[in-house]
């Protein structure tokens, strides 16, 4: 089993979609929300995912394909 910490950023048109529910329902991934700030025009959620490596990656690819930005929780780690 693997564990990954990620940050999802939702644009205004994605804020109303049950993305996290579907990630847990359609993939074999346990989601655990730690902190969030969701408003009408945008939102973000930091959460921990448990599952196999492959299943987490499959789930995250699906999330990104649905227009949600997926980042490491600490923001960009590449610096100039």
């Amino acid at each position: 089993m693997a564990r990954q910490r990620v940050r999802f950023t939702f644009s205004a048109d994605m804020v109303r979609e049950p993305i996290i529910y579907r990630l847990g329902h359609d993939f074999d991934v346990v989601t655990n929300i730690r902190r969030a700030d969701v408003r009408a025009d945008m939102g973000w959620v930091v959460l921990e995912l448990d599952g196999t490596d492959d299943e987490i990656q499959r789930g995250l690819t699906w999330v990104a394909d649905n227009g949600v930005r997926v980042d490491p929780i600490a923001g960009d780690v590449i610096e100039g």
């Binding site: 950023t9 980042d71 923001g75 590449i78 610096e79 100039g80």
Partner: protein
């Protein structure tokens, strides 16, 4: 010795020991160093600082690593130049340039990496690592060489040759990742979870970021223990911006600034604001990657991540870790943010070079163009004490200004020279 009490989450306030951690286990918020300021106030003085080395380690009492045996390539104590010519051009009579492009690996990153590397050695790490598109890679590789430990530096596979050489010369393990920016970002984050390495801006981040406070201390010391009315600072992650502000406030609270009474730090050390610190903090970003300025301009309380598309690659962080905190500093200081149009970045580089003889990289072009905008818009008054931070050297981004190379081509004869000179003068260039 370091006066560190431990780490504290900026979001939920949970406290942790001073270990190599960067994220709160409970809420995933960022961790910050907390200090024993009571003891610091008993030992620190201007004289003690003046008696220290001519590097960032003169401020050892306010840094989170011990200065007994620092990993030091002599970062810091860079020139603060009165910029008379640039000031005249912009109508500013009291303008200074903090020229941090002359650090040993040619950028301000030496300040933060020196602290992170010292802390990494203190923790017993044998490998220093980072993911970078330039300046950070050079600094990490240089400091690892100095410390006699290994360096692993991740770079995008398409990084410009000059920058690759600038890091490779120190003989790190250079890993060129063939992928998009997001993929490189994610991979490095995962690697940091799985290898026992000191990633300077990941597991060392709370300590690393503190090195930027020295940019605030030095300016105050060089101005005779005064702080400016305005500062203009280029921003990527937002960390340096918040730490310069923190540096000014620490000096004020400790009573080290001229005519300023000390003040207790209170429960939240990282948001302390001494009323005597009236410096207005102006943030400079390039239009192609300006998520913090966008949030400020649009009065948002969240940072909307962007995909960077900017000539100023050293500022190209689309999802800035400290963006929200930097935004708060802009507001608290009554400062501002400006997103420089991409086509004005090179103008800024040339303006600084032509007026003050300082060759900066694209980030410096962003700073100077922001300064110009602030002066022209009246946000900075003619006699207000203003400092612009120049954080990287122009030799790193020479391709950005290739257009300036336009020599007179002459034969080795006086006639040829005179004809060419006359032709150039007639053209008025």
């Amino acid at each position: 010795m370091a006066f560190v009490k431990g780490l504290k989450c900026r979001e939920c306030g949970r406290e942790y020991p001073g270990d190599p951690l960067n994220v709160c286990d409970f809420c995933f918020g960022p961790l910050e160093v907390i200090y024993d300021y009571v003891t610091i106030s008993e030992v620190i003085s201007r004289d003690r600082i003046a008696g220290g080395p001519l590097s960032i380690w003169r401020y050892e009492d306010l840094l989170p690593a011990s200065a007994e045996d620092p990993v030091d390539i002599m970062a810091g104590y860079t020139p603060l130049m009165k910029a008379k010519n640039l000031g005249k051009r912009l109508g500013l009579n009291n303008l200074y340039i903090k020229n941090d492009s002359v650090n040993p690996s040619f950028s301000f990153k030496d300040r933060v990496v020196s602290v992170a590397a010292t802390k990494a050695v203190e923790f017993g790490y044998e490998t220093l690592a980072c993911a970078s598109t330039g300046n950070l890679a050079c600094s990490v590789a240089a400091h690892a060489a100095r410390a006699g430990i290994d360096a692993v530096v991740f770079i995008p596979a398409d990084l410009e040759r000059g920058k690759v050489i600038g890091a490779a010369v120190y003989n790190p393990t250079l890993v060129a990742v063939d992928g998009t920016y997001d993929e490189v970002n994610r991979l490095c984050s995962e690697i940091s979870d799985n290898y026992p390495w000191a990633f300077v801006n990941i597991n060392m981040r709370p300590y690393y970021a503190e090195g930027s406070k020295t940019l605030g201390y030095e300016v105050a010391e060089q101005l005779g223990w005064r702080i400016p009315d305005h500062v203009v600072i280029p921003s990527a992650s937002g960390a340096m911006f918040t730490k310069i502000w923190k540096g000014f406030n620490e000096l004020a609270c400790l009573g080290l600034l001229d005519g300023v009474e000390p003040m207790p730090f209170g429960a939240d050390q990282n948001t302390v604001h001494h009323p005597a610190v009236t410096t207005r903090m102006h943030m400079a970003q390039a239009e192609g990657c300006s998520p913090i300025v966008w949030a400020w301009e649009n009065q948002k309380n969240q940072i909307r991540p962007v995909r960077p598309d900017s000539i100023a690659k050293s500022l190209a962080i689309g999802n800035p870790a400290d963006g929200i905190y930097a935004l708060r500093v802009i507001r608290e200081s009554d400062g501002s943010g400006y997103a420089v149009p991409e086509n004005k970045v090179v103008e800024g580089i040339k303006l600084l070079a032509e007026t003050e003889g300082v060759f900066t990289e694209t980030a410096g072009g962003v700073t100077v163009s922001t300064l110009k905008y602030l002066a022209e818009s009246g946000a900075i008054g003619p006699d207000e004490l203003t400092v612009a931070y120049i954080t990287g050297n122009g030799l790193k981004t020479q391709e950005a200004v290739e257009e300036v190379v336009n020599p007179l081509l002459v034969k080795p004869m006086m006639g040829s020279f005179e004809a060419a000179l006359e032709s150039r003068m007639a053209a008025g260039v």
